[in-house]
Amino acid sequence: MMMEISRRRKVINAAMLSLSGICTVLVIGVLFFILGYLLWHGFRSLNWEFFTKLPKPSGESGGGMANAIVGSGKVLLVATLIGVPLGFLAGVYLAEYSGKTFAFSLRYTVDLLNGVPSIVIGIVAYALVVRPMGHFSALAGGVALGIMMIPIAVRTTEEFLRAVPNSLREGAMALGATKAKTVFTVVVPAAISGLASGMMLNLARVAGETAPLLFTALGNTFWSHGWLQPIATLPVMIYNYAIAPEEDLHQQAWAAGFVLLALVLVINITARLIIARGSASSRR
């Protein structure tokens, strides 16, 4: 009887272990397959012209995506200027000032905003910026991505500020610092490496967003001057080229995917390095 039970247990244990093992391998396999496929096609299609030339008119081969690379940079800059300050200050409020009940509802709202489909955010930016201005623009694209950055910016700020030991706040206040002085001269500097890297990861997350840019930044086959014209971005270029009939454009889309991935990776790694350095110096 006992033998029977222990045998059954062993069988179930082995079955569960192999099941979770298989799932892990599947998940990692899919990830590496996508990465590898993208690297293979993207790297093969990449050349110097991709970085320096404008897109060629349809039917001609060659050309590049210089305008989309710069365009993505511009849109992400606007997004950062909107999403980071708003999210950061709201996060400061949440961590340092707000009462329990209000903090709960604010946090809940922010989490809801985080769950809103990106295309809906795009529609909001369309209504807020594109409609009143009468045309698509880099600004509108930046607003859309900026709104998308807010929830993570709020929660990252809150989390890292809460991790700062209370003894530092008390130390500053015991010297006659006001609450605001305490927060901005002691608490925020103590959390700065975490905050900086959190914001960078946040930026990397929206860098690949396509849907909200489709009807805000639209796209452009030429250089876009200033901030108020339609502008090309890497994700939208990938979308347009991938559904185009020409094989040449597919190659360009692969290259764009590769560049976008590299950009996100660089931002990610930089952020991790900042975190590692920050925690090393605080341990010292």
């Binding site: 009462g99 030991p165 003894s167 530092l168 706040r169 008390e170 130390g171 500053a172 206040m173 015991a174 010297l175 006659g176 610092a177 006001t178 002085k181 001269t185 002691v186 500097p189 103590a190 110096s281 605080s282 010292r284």
Partner: protein, 283 residues
């Protein structure tokens, strides 16, 4: 009759050569002039939510003397200390009732940053800011609007010197404070508190995390400081209270059970509970 607590006092302890035994100071003939009181509390009550942590605390703290608070954990001594610079206000859902005066003025209605500049505090666990040694000490000056480079530099140097830390750190003022040892960090925190020249210095078990040598250094430092500063110290170490304090208060269950001359509290307490505590017969 040699009671155990007398033995404790006469027992050679670290620092007796540097620090005159309290017994001597207390043996001086009583002064004719009434002592000047720096802080007075009268019928002070304190609540964490509905829990009353302090009951009717009435005490007069003498200027430029060391006053020690002793008592078991949770007896309210730290809470009372934190009431004196209104540190508890930062906690949610707390309430204070009664009268608390600094130089005769109502401390509970003064500007809170003003109170904290005049009544400095050193915490149980050293809490240097993640900044350089220099910026740590300069912090209090800067938040109080003093930015002139020379003035700040002088004040930093003077404060580090008063905290007996200058010789150890003068070549690394611009290194991070976290590079210092535990005892040095605590003295840095004292220097930081001294930089704004507080009239009162509150210390909440400042030596509880330090080894005996670092503890000795801090005790020497406090002994020198009391010429110019009123010192209130919370301690679990009764030898420390006996060595350091002119006056001692014994707290129990949120009440000030007995307060008076340190020598009297340790050698001839008026209340049974005090005697039990100082002789170690108490949990």
């Amino acid at each position: 009759m040699a009671t155990p607590h007398q033995q404790m006092l006469s027992e050679p302890s670290i620092g007796t050569s540097q620090i005159p035994p309290v017994a001597q100071a207390a043996a001086e003939p009583p002064k004719t002039a009434a002592p000047a009181y720096k802080l007075n509390s009268k019928n002070l009550n304190f609540f964490y939510g509905s829990f009353q942590a302090l009951h009717q605390i009435s005490i007069d703290i003498t200027s430029n003397k060391v006053t020690a608070f002793i008592g078991p954990s949770g007896c309210g001594k730290s809470t009372f200390l934190r009431t004196m610079n209104r540190m508890n206000e930062a906690l949610r859902n707390t309430r204070v009732e009664g009268d608390l005066r600094l130089d005769g003025a109502n401390l509970l209605e003064m500007d809170v940053t003003d109170v904290r500049r005049r009544v400095g505090m050193v915490f149980q666990k050293s809490n240097p800011f993640p900044k350089t040694i220099f910026d740590n000490v300069a912090y209090g000056l800067r938040v109080n609007g003093i930015h002139k480079k020379r003035v700040v530099e002088e004040a930093v140097e003077r404060s580090l010197d008063r905290a007996a830390l200058l010789t150890e750190v003068k070549d690394k003022l611009h290194k991070p404070a976290s590079a210092l040892s535990g005892g040095q960090q605590q003295r840095l925190c004292i220097a930081r508190a001294l930089a704004v020249e507080p009239e009162v210095l509150l210390l909440d078990e400042p030596c509880s995390a330090l080894d005996p040598i670092a503890t000795l250094k801090i005790e020497e430092l406090l002994f020198k400081l009391k010429n110019s500063t009123t010192i209130v110290i919370v301690t679990h170490n009764m030898q420390q209270a006996a060595r350091l304090a002119d006056y001692t208060g014994f707290f129990l269950m949120g009440k000030l059970i007995e307060f008076g001359d340190t020598r009297k509290i340790f050698q001839n307490p008026g209340v049974k509970a005090t005697e039990d505590y100082v002789t170690g017969r108490f949990g």
